[in-house]
């Protein structure tokens, strides 16, 4: 009797899981499989004749190309800088909001605003503000900033900086709220106990708040990694590829759509995945720590 109940539960479980799995298979697994296969071939809509299997040639071609390493470096620097800035700012916001003060609700809503403001459109406002196309009152000033940054760091630098600033602005809000949820989950008794046992606020922060926030920090870092790429893709799409500092994802799109080189483009996209996998493994290490599994 018990046994059949359990078996029925398991069958129900698979049934309930199936819509989610089906969605992920169609929208993620199939495309990824297609990219893996294509990255091993010379598939191109421009090419006549049969598609040839070329093995790892597309990959080795990228790895030998200095342009690839420049793109990879930009990608990694972009990811690291935005994540560090977002975590630092977000932690600051969460700590500011942790203690009650007059008007806290309003400040909380203000800090929630950058994330709540739909990024699909705020990125346009942000972009056209920092790179104004027409003689608005601030165009001359922004133009001046743009040219001085571009002449210092190379063409397209300012556009890239704007995208980075945008991602930090939006992401710090998300992480701030997420960490606030983490702080709210810390039992107050723990803080009272810590107050007796530790000497300085810094020590309390380091010994009590930080360890308890660790899973939230890891989660925030990981989620913001995904948003970092979608934000930059938004800007890139908006400007029809005018960002001259390409990251791996956008560069691959360019290769595929403008160059018609599906094989190399797929290889380039997939070269991003090892970085992201590393980040994910780190997250699982931090979040699903052994003590928690046992509980």
């Amino acid at each position: 009797m018990r046994r059949t109940q359990r078996q029925r539960d398991i069958r129900t479980a698979y049934l309930l899981l199936s819509p989610a799995v089906l969605l992920l298979l169609t929208v993620l697994a199939y495309p990824v499989g297609w990219e893996v296969w294509t990255s091993l071939t010379s598939l191109s809509p421009l090419q006549e004749g049969a598609t040839a299997f070329v093995g790892l040639q597309n990959y080795s071609q990228h790895l030998e190309d200095p342009q690839f390493w420049r793109t990879a470096a930009v990608t990694v620097v972009y990811a690291v800088v935005t994540i560090a800035a977002k975590l630092a700012l977000g932690l600051g916001f969460a700590l500011l909001l942790a203690r009650p003060f007059r008007g806290r609700t309003l400040v909380f809503l203000a800090i929630f605003l950058p994330w709540a403001y739909p990024a699909s459109v705020s990125v346009m406002g942000w972009y056209w503000t920092l790179n104004p196309p027409i003689p608005t009152a601030y165009a001359a000033f922004m133009g001046h900033v743009k040219y001085s940054v571009d002449s210092a760091f190379g063409g397209g630098a300012w556009v890239f900086v704007s995208a980075t600033l945008f991602n930090i602005w939006r992401g710090s809000s998300f992480i701030g709220v997420l960490l606030l949820a983490g702080i709210n989950g810390i039992p107050p008794e723990l803080f009272e106990y810590a107050l007796l046992e530790t000497k300085s606020p810094w020590q309390r922060f380091r010994m009590v708040t930080m360890p308890l926030l660790k899973p939230f920090l890891a989660l925030g870092a990981f989620l913001s990694l995904t948003s970092a790429f979608s934000d930059i893709a938004n800007v890139w799409m908006l400007t029809a590829g005018r960002i001259v500092f390409p990251v791996l994802g956008t560069q691959a799109y360019w290769l595929a759509i403008n160059g018609g080189q599906f094989g190399p483009a797929s290889a380039l996209s997939l070269l991003l995945v090892p970085f992201l996998l590393g980040a994910l493994l780190l997250l699982f290490r931090l979040f699903d720590s052994p003590e928690r599994e046992a509980a």
């Binding site: 992920l24 605003l113 799409m237």
Partner: protein, 290 residues
């Protein structure tokens, strides 16, 4: 506790002020621009608006005809903003419904029924975040075409849920897993089915977490510009972001900014209404009951 010295208070206050300005200023700036006349946009002070007007907003809803007046020698075209608005509402509502129901089902399976290897299922679903949709344009487009969904809003209803699903499944299943077994058991012993126990007991309990998932889903769907503008070609099929992306900003900067604000306002209001619930839900899912 002894009162804190004045300089600590002052420091705290100025930090709060700084954070608020940093967060709100860009939004304020966009709002100010959208209320300006063309005259003030060019010659006025960029930070304030002296003669606020809703002209730019009205412009969005004007005539569905072809032309909309001429600047220099360029014809300004009219934008089907009402269609965009309708499409956006449809996509957001659909995405929310699909994401929440699909993740509830999956999370219940993983958190309560616990089939063999449920931890690995959970991790695998969450791990799909590793692949940003933005590197999958080309094959994604193939899927959309095979399903006959190109230039259709349904394509977005296929893609958006998968962008929010992993997090929602993860959050909800963590919450379900933390709920003690006894909660359902008494109902099950009294002869209720699992489904009844779910709808009567578990679902009402998990409201804060559902709110958190809902806000996250809304935020995710509202943050996409790339996929919408890639899959939706014809003007009347576009969502607001995709449509605004096609606007000629050099000519229609003010109308575009007005459109940005029109899209943002309802989303912000919903987020603000549920902001507290969002935080509570995140806390509940990740901390409580461990």
């Amino acid at each position: 506790m002894n009162p804190r010295p004045w300089w600590t208070k002052l420091g705290h206050l100025s930090l709060i002020l700084l954070a608020t300005v940093y967060c709100v200023f860009p939004v304020y700036f966009m709002l100010v621009q959208s209320l300006k006349t063309a005259q003030e946009d060019v010659f006025g002070n960029p930070f304030i608006v002296l003669h606020p007007t809703f002209e730019s907003f009205e412009e969005l809803f004007e005539g569905r005809g072809e032309g909309r007046g001429v600047i220099g020698s360029t014809l300004r075209r009219a934008y089907p903003f009402l269609d965009w608005l309708e499409n956006t509402l449809f996509v957001f509502a659909g995405t929310l419904a699909i994401t929440l129901s699909v993740s509830l089902a999956a999370a219940y399976a993983l958190g309560r029924l616990r089939p063999p290897g449920f931890r690995w299922w959970r991790r695998a679903i969450f791990a799909t975040y590793v692949i940003p949709q933005t590197i999958l344009f080309v094959p994604l487009y193939r899927v959309v075409i095979v399903l006959g969904l190109d230039d259709s809003l349904l394509a977005l209803l296929l893609v958006y849920p998968t962008m929010a699903l992993p997090f929602c499944v993860w959050l909800l299943s963590a919450y379900f897993q933390h709920l003690p077994r006894e909660i359902e058991e008494s109902a099950l012993i009294e002869g209720a089915s699992r489904a009844t126990a779910f709808f009567r007991i578990i679902l009402p309990m998990s409201r804060p977490v559902l709110v958190a998932c809902g806000i996250f889903t809304l935020g995710t769907a509202a943050s996409d510009f790339t996929i919408a503008s890639l899959f939706l070609m014809s003007g009347h099929n576009q969502t607001i972001p995709a449509g605004l992306g096609t606007m000629e900003v050099a000519l229609d900067e003010l109308a575009a900014v007005a459109g940005i604000n029109l899209m943002a306002l309802p989303v912000i209001l919903i987020c603000a209404l549920f902001a507290r619930g969002y935080v509570r839900g995140l806390t509940a899912a990740m901390v409580e009951g461990v």
